[in-house]
């Protein structure tokens, strides 16, 4: 219900801009749309708005772009249906209708013809009823990807047009540009764009020469891809329990797991916080092991002033849509400061060679698509801002949940004592009083999306089925952890609602 979007018909906007009859109502509509960031203007309306302002309110011309920006100018798509009844009656209104169609939005209008011939058109009264309905049926999504993606759409659109027009779809200029910018952002020498986070892990493991039977140490509480990449190549994932406060690999238990077959360690920077890298580096040096950082949840997180992914030999990133830096499909990247490894990875991602039909080593098709490069280039510009917003949301949670933690009802996420920047890919709390699954169900009924990351530790998954080995911390945590909504789409009032519901549930 939170996702209603509205396109404003020209006359309603002009009532406001020209302060003419209808101003009072249009000013309320615009107030709502500006505050909720869900108002749009069709690009087709721009010429007439500009013309009317230059004719009747010239003094507004310099600020017109600013005003229109608050209401988001949206494209007119090219899929015109000339037989549409509105197109046959009023082509300008039809173009506004088409804009609304491309946005899955409503058009607010007072034009009777528009209302009769467009299923997108709603009257002013209907608009007010809808926003009230929206308020009463408030739903808080875990993620709001449409909102985030609409914010960058007009910038990305230009690049997508360029890709289609020139039809260069794979590993061309946008991927190259992204590789350069992402490497620069992280402070790494090389970035190799690939087609998913899982591919990034596979490419990295191939680059270090993982052979069947080789062992790779990793935390037991993480997404399957970390272990899967090792298993696919014939290696053996060796699981280690997690730190009870930070949920990352328990570094004190790594050394016990090292054997003659150990080839590498994969610390996972889980939930947006880095694993404690210094002891891992020390162990790796002592036993001559590779370190591949799984930074798929840590875009922009830092460990002692260094960005996640640049501390070990190779860093692997996923740009799955829901990540802090997410593509519009599947994408990933490997980063490294080692030229030899970089050279291998460029080859591995492209069937083992850089030049066409010159296959020097064994590789595969792990190439990044241009569409994803174009999207990521634009979204990278917002990464720090969006991470900052996540940190603000985390502070609001802390503010409103502190009392419940003091009472011993819950446990809030802790920032590691080593110098570490948490970017809160996930905001994970532990439910200590009452059953976590009951709270999960309660939230579901209340229209608030929450998650569990992860419901089963890797050793308990059917694919690995290592039930005889015990990982007490991970096994205990998997019953308690609950991921609360976090992201740019939330405001303090949303956090108040979520935390009041937790309070109500735990105190009832």
């Amino acid at each position: 219900m939170r996702n209603f979007k509205f396109v404003i018909d020209v006359n309603i906007l002009l009532d406001f801009l020209l302060e003419r009859e209808g101003y009072e109502i249009s000013s309320k509509i615009i107030e709502y749309l500006v505050k909720n960031k869900n108002g749009y203007i069709s690009a087709s309306s721009i010429p007439i708005i500009y013309f009317m302002i230059s004719k009747y309110r010239k003094e507004l011309l310099p600020v017109l772009p600013k005003i229109l920006n608050y209401l988001n100018v949206w494209k007119v798509p090219s899929y015109i249906n000339w037989n549409h009844p509105l197109a046959q009656r009023d082509i300008e209104d039809y173009l506004i209708h088409l804009t609304a169609e491309s946005l899955d939005a409503f058009v607010i209008t007072r034009d009777a013809e528009f209302l009769s011939f467009s299923d997108r058109a709603i009257s002013v009264e209907e608009f007010f009823k809808k926003v009230l309905e929206e308020k009463k049926n408030l739903k808080i999504p875990f993620l709001d990807l449409p909102k985030q993606n609409l914010q960058v759409f007009s910038r990305v659109e230009k690049n997508l047009d360029d890709i289609i027009v020139h039809s260069k779809f794979i590993c061309a200029k946008y991927v190259k540009e992204f590789e350069e910018k992402f490497a620069e952002y992280l402070g790494a020498k090389f970035c190799i764009g690939v087609n998913s986070g899982t591919s990034a892990l596979i490419v990295a493991l191939m680059a270090i020469g993982l052979k069947p039977g080789d062992e790779v140490i990793m935390p037991v509480n993480t997404f399957i891809a970390t272990a899967e990449a090792v298993s696919i190549l014939g290696g053996r994932p060796v699981f280690v329990d997690i730190h009870p406060e930070y949920y990352t690999i328990d570094v004190t238990q790594i050394e016990n797991k090292i054997t003659k077959r150990t080839k590498a360690i994969i610390p996972v920077h889980l939930y947006g916080q880095c694993a404690d890298m210094d002891p891992i580096i020390e162990i790796a040096k002592k036993y001559n092991l590779w370190i591949i950082e799984d930074a798929c949840q840590a875009h922009g997180a830092e460990y002692k002033g260094r960005k996640a992914g640049t501390i070990g030999h190779i860093g692997c990133f996923s740009f799955y849509p829901g990540k802090n830096l997410g593509s519009w499909g599947e994408a990933g990247a490997c980063v490294t400061n080692d030229e030899e490894l970089a050279d291998k990875m460029y080859k591995i991602r492209n069937h083992g060679g850089i030049k066409k039909y010159q296959h020097e080593i064994l590789g595969g098709n792990f190439r990044m698509e241009e569409f994803q490069g174009a999207v990521l280039n634009e979204k990278l510009k917002y990464l720090d801002e969006w991470n900052k917003k996540r940190k603000e949301i985390a502070k609001f949670y802390e503010k409103y949940l502190k009392n419940l933690e003091i009472k011993g009802f819950i446990k809030l996420p802790k920032r590691a004592e080593y110098n570490n920047t948490h970017i809160y890919h996930l905001y994970v709390i532990e439910i200590l009083k009452k059953n976590r699954d009951d709270l999960f169900e309660f939230f579901k009924n209340e229209g608030i999306e929450v998650g569990i990351h992860y419901p089963l530790a890797l050793h308990k998954l059917k694919v690995y089925n290592q039930k005889d080995i015990k990982f007490p911390v991970a096994e205990q945590k998997q019953k308690l952890i609950l991921s609360l909504p976090i992201g740019k789409h939330l405001r303090e009032r949303d956090i108040k609602i979520i935390t009041q519901k937790i309070d109500f549930f735990l105190n009832k």
């Binding site: 006359n11 007439i48 009823k129």
Partner: protein, 84 residues
């Protein structure tokens, strides 16, 4: 007869389909102009007509919902100065 010509800087280049010899030829050129101002004035008139015929609003609904949502109505000044 219609012939497609190409405009390049200050020249209109006409293809010589008939291998005409050097010399002069008179052609009548009709410019298909897009009268932007006329069009916009037409549109303004159209919008004015629409405004005159626009549907009435049940102000009671607007009042109730505005109160419920705390909407007072934003002014142009507030919008320009980002005070919302």
């Amino acid at each position: 007869m219609k012939i497609k010509a190409v405009v390049k800087k200050n020249q209109i280049i006409i293809p010589n389909f008939y291998n005409l010899k050097d010399g002069e030829i008179w052609l009548e050129v009709k410019f298909l102009d897009f009268h932007r101002k006329e069009y916009l004035e037409f549109w303004e008139k159209h919008l004015k007509e629409e405004k005159e015929k626009e549907t009435s609003i049940n102000s009671e609904i607007v009042k109730i919902v505005s109160e419920e949502l705390g909407l007072k109505g934003i002014t142009l000044k507030e919008l320009i100065n980002e005070k919302f």
